[in-house]
Symmetry: C2
Subunit: 246 residues, 2 copies
DNA sequence: CGAGCACTTGATCGCTTTCAATAGCTGTGG
DNA sequence: CCACAGCTATTGAAAGCGATCAAGTGCTCG
């Protein structure tokens, strides 16, 4: 098991201190949160919550990547959210989980017991305010994704997903736009397919096509180099600075 | 012009008083809201806001239907939200509109000047709390829609859209599940296509197919009768009470 | 070395799109 | 009252893209 000495973690040295649901909390409020928090770790592939189950907690992803998925009876599944560090899991005011949450890498979560968290939220506008902003951001992301799912071609979908991943971990290390961007895919081909509403074969084919066309370079299955972000964004149909030449 | 004597509208007789962003406000808070509110009407087809424009207000749909759409440079468009009475328009804390908002029927909006509204929100947890719940609901709806867009067939998409519309205006008049449900589509075939990530021809074909198969009855283009909601939900792949017979 | 897994690649099928023609409705003007 | 334009919707035929079915590759781990 990979459970570090996790109870020793202090909010002040927490890597997501300024981006998670607690971002706007002051020292006093942190003390209250600290009193109801505990850490949990999940291994890659492990299910954090099943849709329909009662959730005893809400919490933040501290490190690692998890997915939010929805499944039909016949097995078709669609990813509806990608949970990266600082993202919030669970919905205050609702008991059952609406989606499956699965760790795709090893994940550390900072959990709050649900009832005490809800009570605290009532008393602490800073938490509710932060959660509102985070939820509005998620809603924007979901709507952007609706355009991808509804209107983009398979190739554009792949390019869009790569762009998103680059953008999201560029918000940690600030990366320029022109230069080589290098990163590791946190998703299997199947998870990519579930995100994009494609089959894994189509994902594989389009990855090969993007590689063949020089849009990306692949080492192994997961390590990716993007020579030109502008090119990738064009392929995504996002038209970054497109039309600039005209 | 169809502008009724609209400044006379009083919050207490407002049809969306208990479902809109003001739902949790008490009498004092309503007075404050009232001071910064004004009504606007839009005719069917009129654009309320263009994506990228500065929004001077936020507000609620009082009556009518509007759509939220996103467009790519080449003209592909995807609807990302369907705004029905009580739905909130605009994002506090952001100046530019992210999406096009278009009235698809005549629409009455209750608008709040943006800056005063934001100030009021800071002072009034009831508003922020309500907005959080509404935003979480919208996020759920968007995620449900991602499954529709990513994984459902054209026929299932149409059935899903019809189900949603029935469900949403059943939340006004409570309707049982077994009986005949009758309603008017608030959307053109093209708008349906934009919602579902299809072409309007495919929408038309599938509407005809559902009619031929007795899932719906059509009078004119817009007036729809659903003989069996259970059947419609089956067609949507939602499997309502499905397997109940087994 | 072989089993298991993630991924790749090939061949074919079928659903949705595309292109095109037609129908039905509404409003306008002769 | 009818003719016609303009719009929305329907229907048909053909094409294309992604899905499906099916091998085959490469890697890790026992």
């Amino acid at each position: 098991m990979n459970t570090p000495n996790i109870n020793s973690v202090n909010c002040n040295s927490c890597p997501i201190r300024h981006r998670a649901v607690c971002a706007r909390c002051n020292a006093d409020e942190l003390v209250e949160l600290d009193a109801i928090k505990y850490y949990r770790t999940y291994e890659a592939g492990q299910t954090v919550i099943w849709a329909g189950d009662i959730m005893g907690f809400v919490g933040s992803v501290v490190s690692g990547v998890a997915t939010l998925t929805q499944t039909m009876e016949d097995g078709r599944t669609q990813m509806v959210g990608l949970l990266l560090p600082s993202d919030f899991v669970g919905r205050p005011g609702r008991d059952g989980a609406a989606y499956n949450v699965v760790a795709t890498t090893n994940v550390v979560m900072c959990c709050f017991r649900k009832k005490p968290f809800e009570d605290l939220m009532e008393r602490t506008p800073h938490i509710a305010q932060r959660l509102l902003v985070m939820t509005l951001d998620e809603l924007d992301a979901a709507r952007e994704w609706m355009l991808v799912l509804g209107r983009k071609t398979a190739r554009e979908k792949i390019a869009s997903l790569l762009s998103i991943i680059v953008r999201r971990d560029a918000s940690l290390q600030s990366t320029g736009l022109g230069e080589n961007v290098v990163f590791d895919l946190p998703l299997t081909r199947e998870a990519m397919a579930d995100y994009l509403g494609l089959t894994l074969e189509t994902v594989s084919r389009q990855m090969s096509a993007l590689k063949r066309d020089g849009v990306i370079k692949l080492e192994g299955k997961r390590h990716i180099t993007v020579p030109s972000m502008g090119r990738l964004l064009e392929e995504a149909g996002d038209d970054s600075d497109g039309g600039f030449i005209g």
